[in-house]
Amino acid sequence: MLKIENLSARVAGKDILNGIDLSIDAGEVHAIMGPNGSGKSTLAQVLAGREDYEVTGGRISFDGQDLLAMKPEVRARAGLFLGFQYPVEIPGVNNVYLLKAALNAKRKAANLPEVDAYEFLALIKQKMKFMEMSEGFLTRGVNEGFSGGEKKRNEILQMLVLEPKLAILDETDSGLDIDALKIVAKGVNSLRDAKRAVVLVTHYQRLLDYIVPDRVHVLSGGRILKSGDKSLALELERRGYDWVKESRVA
């Protein structure tokens, strides 16, 4: 579904990604781990098409299409979803309004009829219940005055409504207490099926206890240094990232 070949990118004149190769098939969950500054978030932003991130080399194909040639909104409509590390507040813009506009933009691109307010409300109420969110959320502005945990939960709610083919979740677990983490994991797991893929960007193995990955990759210095299965995450937790760097040098 997603094939990244020799991808390099820079931000503000600084090279961050230095030749990433990564292949993700439908039905898989991949975890990308690595120390601070290793390029994890940059990779997520490049996949989503953020302008400030300049791609200096390589190729990405998504569902057979040239992802780098697509605008961010086109990528989104094609089924790529980014769960933001720091979801932004948009004061005065209602949560539900934004999400309905997002869903309808996607449906329109797929030549499906738009959902009306009534249908949408029923849909979102059902998803909110699943994510254990209170109804007060319906009347609030986008992330306006949300706690860190509420923002992350909102990202997952949006993901459930938009039902992406590929969800990239950038440190969705950071700042969550254990109960919130379980709810977020429940949301992600509910989306897992043979047609979709998930990329979890995370620092901690903890999340992977609840969302068990098929593959784990260690990113450092803008390259994937090591890949493995779930046990790699456990080993990382035990031995730290330096172990990977050293074993690579050796």
Binding site: A48, P91, A102
Partner: protein, 482 residues
């Protein structure tokens, strides 16, 4: 001095031969300003002596004044002798004859605003018979209002039908010599609107007047006076639009509001004067003095403005809170794009006890525009228990525009409460990218973010104008992102 008194005299002479009302063909004064021109305007309008005297006094005072320079705006000096101070409806010879001759860009804008076709022709300055400048549009619904006892007519009509009200109230809120532009207006104003709502009457409909500047090289100096007697309530809306012209045009209006005991006046403005093109050529200079006085107890005056147009906006709708328990409000959205400059805000002067004021200002800057909030809250020693709340937020789009905030506060009573909140945010790439990542187009995203930012102000507008304001906003900011 470029004025030619003899020309003026000749014109007036001709005028008198043909009679005032029916002569439509040549009803315009040549450029220039002096006492003869002031007298000519007054004579054209057949005004009583007291009004002529008032105009002349204003003119003499104006001559002693200097154009203010404190505002954060830049423009070439205005040649006041190069402006025609009176222009009644007529079809300008060089105006487009049909919509086919009008710039398609302008027409596309009107279409987006949802302005009906016949309206578009008027706005574009097409020579149709309804084009008007300084003489007020025939006011509709006069009968229904008359039944309620409400007077709503052009200022000129009021001068003839209700001279005692004009004499009693004119210049009592904004004195003739108040400031440079108000003095100029007092000397040369040609028309405007007059509203009187008698004691205990709730005006049965929204009153609205569309002001337009059509003739080239015409200054527009309208004068509006709204009086709400004891217990009366009125909501007044003005919309302003001007056709596209290459040269700058001056608009110096004065609005005076008087609210007596328990009266409420709500005054809403949607201003969309031509802002100049994307290179800063042309556009209206909008130098306006608006002030309301809560003269009685528990009176309330509320200003709501959505300012998207004009090359330069210099405007501070204010409230003088004289009556005990009176309330002043100011809700503003000011948009400046390309090379527009806006210096706008309000003054709240607290004199009475337990007076209350609220200021909510939202400034949006894009392109290379400059947007300034300038506000003054003044609490005088007599204003026990006065309260003010001020909130000014600025939104910047792109990296070449600027926002400035100048809040002045003067508190001379220790029992007063004054709160001020301010914020500046960049439309952020962050907010924009968030929406894009959810599949929303850049244009829809900008509209969404901006209207969210302005929501608290739009809420104050009468329903149908809130929709118009929203449309205006998206047209004004079109293409500034992405």
């Amino acid at each position: 001095m470029a004025s030619k008194p003899s020309d003026v005299e000749a014109l007036i002479g001709q005028k008198y031969r043909h009679g005032f009302v029916t002569d439509i063909e040549s009803d315009s004064l040549p450029p220039g300003l002096n006492e003869d021109v002031v007298a000519a305007i007054s004579r054209k309008k057949n005004e009583p002596q007291f009004l002529l005297d008032w105009r002349l006094k204003a003119y003499r005072h104006w001559q002693t004044m200097l154009e203010p320079t404190w505002a954060h705006v830049h423009y070439k000096p205005i040649d006041y002798q190069d402006i025609s101070y009176y222009s009644a409806p007529r079809a300008p010879a060089n105006a487009p004859k049909s919509l086919d001759e009008v710039d398609p860009k302008l027409l596309a804008t009107y279409a987006k605003l949802g302005i009906p076709l016949h309206e578009r022709a008027r706005l574009a300055g097409v020579a149709v018979d309804a084009v008007f400048d300084s003489v007020s549009v025939a006011t509709t619904f006069k009968d229904k209002l008359a039944k309620a006892g409400v007077i709503f007519c052009s200022f000129s009509d009021a001068v003839h039908a209700h001279p005692e009200l004009i004499e009693q109230y004119l210049g009592t809120v904004v004195p003739a010599g108040d400031n440079f532009f108000a003095a100029l207006n007092s000397a040369v104003f040609s028309d405007g609107s007059f509203v009187y709502v008698p004691r205990g009457v709730r005006c049965p409909m929204e009153l609205s007047t569309y002001f337009r500047i059509n003739a080239a090289k015409t200054g527009q100096f309208e004068r509006t006076l709204v009086i709400a007697a004891e217990g009366a309530t009125v909501s007044y809306l003005e919309g302003c639009t001007a056709p596209m012209r290459d040269e700058n045009q001056l608009h110096a209006a004065v609005v005076e509001l008087v609210a007596l005991d328990d009266a409420t006046i709500k005054y809403s403005t949607v201003q969309n004067w031509y802002p100049g093109d994307e290179n800063g050529i042309g556009g209206i200079y909008n130098f306006v003095t608006k002030r309301g006085e809560c003269r009685g107890r528990n009176a309330k005056i509320s200003w709501t403005q959505v300012e998207t147009g004009s090359a330069i906006t210099w405007k501070y709708p204010s409230c003088v809170l004289k009556g005990d328990g009176s309330v002043g409000e100011f809700y503003s959205v000011a948009v400046a794009n390309h090379y527009q400059q806006a210096d706008t805000g309000t003054k709240m002067i607290h004199l009475g006890r337990n007076t209350k004021s609220t200021i909510v200002s939202k400034g949006i800057s894009a392109g290379r525009a400059e947007n300034t909030y300038r506000g003054q809250v003044k609490i005088l020693p007599s204003a026990d228990g006065a309260r003010n709340f001020t909130q000014c937020d600025s939104l910047l789009m792109g990296g070449r525009c600027a926002a400035h905030t100048f809040p002045y506060m003067e508190v001379k009573n220790p029992t007063a409460t004054v709160e001020h909140e301010a914020s500046t945010s960049k439309i952020g790439e962050d907010q924009l990218f968030y929406c894009l990542q959810r599949g929303i187009s850049a244009e829809d995203a900008v509209n969404m973010i901006v209207s969210g930012f302005c929501k608290v102000v739009f809420k104050e507008l009468p329903m149908e104008f809130a929709v118009e304001a929203q449309n205006l906003l998206s047209v004004s900011l079109e293409g500034c992102v992405g």
